[in-house]
């Protein structure tokens, strides 16, 4: 059993284990820290910054920062929320996210975060980038219009599937997700791969699934994202 580490989140004492990240330790204690590029079972990436918390007054990404004894973490505060809201809004305008007809709607982590943060329309201008789709694979569809460059597919392919189907190419505004071949059909990607299930948005989809889950039954239709984690929190006073 690894060593217990006590630290504070939003004024509450939390017990974690040595080596855990702030995001993981908080999650076990029922404190939800928003995240996009982090996915349980994959190595942390620290790229989306949506998990940003204030650690002893300085911004750090909770998914990559380990806990330490006596650490003071600020997670649920107006200034942290504002920062995260700005990041989420930027992700929206940087891609082409048309939730109204996206089949991931209701199951999309980006959309669910926007709802959780009360974002109705982003304050930044839409950039309407030109992005490519890749429909070549018989079972998997890539729509880069919706990619938020979280890298979950890249890590899932490497770490879980033992393949190397996805990787990033290009820099800054030109950065995009690429496949290890001319098109996805040339790779060894399979619909059973963990990578095919790793995408938080509607950028990597299984073909022909579409809108099979009715409105009302989708993941985030009736509970905000993070509710499952918050449900683990011990009731106040207990």
């Amino acid at each position: 059993m690894s060593q217990s580490v006590m630290f504070m989140i939003d004024g509450v004492q939390v017990e974690g284990r040595a080596g855990q990240s702030i995001l993981e330790a908080a999650g076990e204690a029922g404190v939800y820290i928003p995240r996009l590029c982090y996915k349980e079972g994959l190595s942390p990436h620290g790229s989306c910054r949506v998990c940003t918390v204030m650690v002893n007054g300085r911004p750090m990404s909770a998914c990559t920062s380990p806990i330490s004894l006596g650490m003071i973490v600020e997670n649920d505060s107006p200034r942290v929320a504002q920062l995260r809201r700005d990041l989420i809004e930027m992700l929206f305008v940087a891609g082409n996210h048309f939730c109204m007809f996206c089949e991931k709607s209701g199951d999309c982590e980006l959309q669910a975060l926007a709802y959780r943060f009360g974002i109705t329309a982003p304050k930044y201008p839409y950039m309407f980038p030109k992005r490519e789709v890749d429909a070549s694979h018989p079972d998997i569809f890539i729509d880069r219009n919706r990619c938020i460059l979280c890298g979950r597919c890249v890590r899932a392919s490497k770490e879980l599937d033992g393949k190397n189907v996805f990787q990033f190419v290009g820099r800054s505004a030109e950065k995009r997700i690429a496949v290890n071949g001319e098109a996805l059909a040339d790779t060894d990607a399979a619909v059973t791969d963990a990578a095919a299930d790793a995408c938080p948005v509607g950028a990597i989809l299984k073909k022909g699934v579409g809108y099979v889950v009715p409105v009302g039954k989708r993941e985030y239709d009736d509970k905000p994202i993070g509710s499952d984690i918050e449900a683990k929190r011990p009731a106040a006073g207990s």
Binding site: M100, F101, E103, A135, G210, V212, V213, P214, V215
Partner: protein
């Protein structure tokens, strides 16, 4: 002949609407005689380009963005085409009945909205009446019961859509080869609670429309009316069927031009003509050619083309309707309202029957078979026959889309109605009044074109009317908003 340079031009320009926007131009000579009257509709065809490259299963949801007025019609029409793309066109009973329920809900709410909010002011107060009263607010003041019914009926239709499509607007219910949910007992019972009331109000609305037509027969018989062909789909046994069937076209005397034409073969019978002065195409029946092959669609056409209606009350109403013209097609433009209310009662009867059908609680929702690369879906939308035609590539992406919406089919008929009313009510008058221009709108509204029925207008059709001389100088201006 008066040349254009001696003529004045009246422009009636409704505000931009969801499916495009339209304006009426009436060209007058020095003596205010109508030289030319045209309805221009700027059609939104961007969709057909936007959809290129999108995966086929997205289309039934995506296509609803085309129209904020009757998105369910586009949703279901695209779904019918996509069913064929996945070889799933023989739906399970639960899937087909859920879709039908959705469609009848859409008819009910769309027809009710159109009749009460947009047309009842003209019918209740008169085309020439004080425009300050002739609007939905006037209806609320003078006929509060009717106004309340209108709101409740629309809401009921929206609830039907919600339990079948998941949302009141832009839902996802129809998926390739089926439906994504069945109807729960709670959803069913909530609707059944209001069912008798809805039937009763539908009967009342039908009475208003019928009585109006019969009491004003002399006035409306000729108002914007003309003989025409009519087109709709009908069931294999000739019954009115708004969800599925073969194409039937009849001529002005009721003779069949073609019958039970399979949806996939529509192009063998229908072609589209382009005219220099309009962005909108003019569809026509091939065998008759562009001159004579234009046709009407929508409630009037459907009641004219079908042999019977398979719900008893609506069929009784249909017989009464057909008796007026001794069984021959009815060509009265204003009779669209009466036909529309027959369909509203039919939709209510159908909703009642479906709610009582245990198939709606079935669990078998989707079928699939051999994939195809090309498919056509045809459905009767509230405003008339709707065609969706798609082709996909080997990667499941749309490479071709062609849509013929009902407003396009009614393009030529609406132009004729405008011309006729302009000649009847505007030509030769020294002063052009608001009431005269309203006559033109009344005729267009009878067709319920998408351009004039946006709900934001709340029963009014905001217009700018300008009299412009040949040098483009505005010499008179009338605005209504």
């Amino acid at each position: 002949m008066v040349s254009t340079s001696d003529a004045k031009r009246i422009v009636i320009e409704p505000v931009t609407r969801v499916e495009g926007h339209g304006k009426v131009t009436i060209l007058l000579d020095e003596a205010n005689r109508v030289q030319q009257a045209r309805l221009h509709i700027v059609e939104f065809r961007g969709f057909e380009r936007f959809i290129q490259g999108r995966p086929y299963w997205e289309v039934p949801v995506l296509v609803q963005r085309l129209c904020g007025i009757c998105p369910v019609s586009h949703h279901l029409c695209a779904a019918k085409a996509v069913d064929r793309l996945v070889g799933g066109e023989s739906l399970t009973p639960t899937a087909e009945k859920m879709r039908r329920l959705m469609h009848y809900g859409q008819f009910f709410q769309s027809h009710t909205l159109h009749f009460f909010h947009l047309c009842s002011p003209d019918l209740l107060f008169g085309f020439d009446s004080d425009p300050a009263l002739r609007n939905v607010v006037g209806v609320i003041q003078k006929h509060p019961d009717l106004a309340k019914q209108a709101v409740m009926m629309r809401k009921f239709g929206q609830e039907v859509i919600k339990v079948t499509a998941g949302k009141k607007i832009h839902g996802t219910g129809a998926i390739p080869g089926g439906i994504n949910k069945n109807l729960s007992i709670e959803e069913r019972d909530a609707l059944l609670n209001d069912m008798d009331q809805m039937l009763q109000w539908s009967r009342g609305a039908l009475r208003i429309a019928r009585d109006y037509t019969l009491q004003h027969l002399e006035e409306v018989r000729d108002f914007g009316s003309f003989e025409s062909n009519h087109l709709s789909i009908v069931r294999a046994d000739g019954a009115l069927d708004i969800y599925d069937g073969g194409l039937r076209a009849i001529d002005a005397d009721g003779n069949r031009i073609f019958d039970h034409v399979g949806n996939q073969a529509y192009l063998e019978q229908i072609a589209e003509e382009v005219k220099s002065w309009s962005y909108m195409k003019f569809p026509f029946i091939r065998s008759l050619g562009p001159e004579d092959g234009w046709y009407r669609v929508g409630p009037l056409a459907r009641i004219n083309t079908c042999d019977f209606i398979d719900t008893p009350e609506a069929d009784g109403a249909r017989k009464e309707f057909m008796a007026l013209t001794e069984g021959k097609p009815n060509h009265i433009t204003m009779a669209y309202h009466w036909a529309r209310m027959i369909e509203t009662l039919h939709a209510a009867e159908k909703i009642r029957d479906l709610l009582n059908d245990p198939d709606l609680q079935g669990e078998d929702l989707v079928v699939k078979g051999e994939k195809r690369r090309e498919a056509v879906g045809i459905i009767e939308a509230p405003r008339g026959t709707l065609f969706h035609h798609y082709r996909i590539n080997e990667n499941d992406q749309v490479v071709m889309a062609n849509l013929i919406v009902s407003t396009t089919s009614n393009n030529e008929p609406m132009n004729r109605a405008v011309r006729k009313v302009a000649e009847q009510h505007i030509s030769g008058n020294a002063e052009i009044t608001e009431g005269m221009l309203n006559h033109v709108e009344v005729a267009i509204r009878a067709y319920d074109p998408c351009l004039s029925c946006a709900t934001h207008a709340l029963g009014r059709m905001p217009l700018t009317v300008e009299l412009v001389d040949h040098e483009g100088k505005v010499i008179d201006r009338r605005a209504k908003d």
